[in-house]
């Protein structure tokens, strides 16, 4: 237990191996119940498709992307497994934050950089991750972790590419973090 202020107690994080086993059991449950893994970027895609189609109802006829999406999905794009799962993720993380006293509005950054720079890099990173997750058919959750659990060759390749690139570029962006 460490405390940030005399009145508010912030609990320590869970042991990483215990958290890993629990994460694995959640992923196993997803496979047992729904025959699929966890994910995050797919829910973002559903929201983007919904907003594009709402703004332009003829988007499906003019955009290969929307047509490609609708080929694999029927009905309302928001009535989607990952959308429900992501709503749960937000609630679960929020509850965990309350229980552990970690709920607070702040921008995290390394000691050698400013909040403003951190936020610019965060947007840039988000754009790259959003784009890359579409190209790679899933992000760290949907492709790398869930792919590893079912030993998918593509998922494991994507996992190695994500972390390998992170390490390869770490030196150039060290001022953001350390």
């Amino acid at each position: 237990m460490e405390s940030s202020s005399p009145t508010k107690k912030v609990r320590a994080y869970m042991n990483p191996y215990l958290a890993g086993v629990l994460l694995g059991l959640v992923l196993l449950a997803a496979n047992f119940i729904s025959g699929r893994g966890l994910g995050a970027s797919g829910a973002v895609k559903s929201v983007v498709v919904t907003s594009v189609v709402t703004v332009n109802p003829h988007a499906a006829e003019s955009s290969d992307f929307i047509r490609d999406y609708e080929k694999g999905h029927t009905g309302n794009p928001m009535k989607n497994w990952l959308v429900f799962q992501m709503m749960g993720v937000i609630l679960g993380a929020f509850v965990s934050g309350i229980l552990s006293g970690r709920l607070s509005l702040k921008t995290e950054h390394g000691p050698q950089t400013t909040s403003k720079k951190r936020l610019i890099f965060a947007v840039a990173g988000g754009i790259l991750f959003g784009f890359g997750s579409q190209l790679g058919r899933g992000c760290t959750s949907g492709s790398a972790l869930s792919g590893l659990a079912v030993m998918s060759a593509g998922g494991i390749l994507t996992m190695m590419a994500i972390f390998g690139t992170g390490y390869a570029l770490a030196y150039f962006f060290r001022k953001n973090w350390i």
Binding site: M14, G24, G92, R137
Partner: protein, 199 residues
């Protein structure tokens, strides 16, 4: 009762969505408890000052992998009905490279950014804004990268098939690699802690 429950029509589509919500709650709760709502903690894996990402990720991966194999072995789950991510060689690697760059710049991945935003991290909220923009750019210019997206389609092979070994043996190899990675992570963290004290 044989899994996957939704595929075998043991539960209805709507029940499946409800359970997806509960699975999400557990997923988000565990990620936040592990500290994945903190970008500095996540980025630590690339500098060695905090190896939590590697430990949680690999422990989660091998737990689920072993569980799935055992469920199949016991006849509790029809593994032929479990989704195996397809392999498109070009996009699997190039998409991963772009995501890796996004990770080191942004400090989050999509799932963890939602956890961070849920507890008030402004950098996570801004990252999510970027995610939407990135997916929109992908969709807007889809014609430009469509060929790259579908190139190198190899179906849905498992890694063991590539290496010519059985799933069981492959799983054992992955578990051994994971434990070696845990050992290295603990060593790196203790070295970093020591050098931190000397400075």
């Amino acid at each position: 009762m044989m899994g996957p429950l939704s595929v075998n029509d043991i539960i209805s589509g709507d029940t499946n969505f409800l359970l997806a919500f509960f699975i999400g709650i557990a997923f988000g709760f565990v990620l936040e408890q592990a500290g994945f709502s903190s970008s500095r903690r996540l980025a630590g894996v690339f500098y060695g000052y905090d190896m939590t990402v590697l430990k949680v990720f690999f422990t989660g991966g091998i737990t689920a992998m072993t569980g799935i194999l055992l469920f199949g072995l016991f006849g509790w789950m029809d593994l032929s009905m479990v989704y195996v991510n397809p392999t498109f060689l070009t996009s699997a690697i190039s998409g991963g490279v772009i995501m890796g760059a996004g990770f080191i710049l942004g400090g989050y991945c999509p799932g963890t950014s939602f956890c961070g935003a849920a507890i008030g991290k402004v950098d996570a909220m801004v990252f999510i804004g970027g995610l939407f923009l990135g997916v929109y750019i992908w969709g807007f210019g889809f014609d430009l990268w469509k060929d790259m997206y579908v190139a190198g389609n190899m179906g849905s092979p498992k890694i063991g098939e590539w290496l010519g070994i059985s799933d069981g043996l492959m799983a054992l190899a992955i578990v051994v690699i994971a434990f070696a990675a845990f050992f290295v992570s603990e060593w790196v963290e203790s070295r970093m802690a020591k050098s931190g004290k000397e400075n």
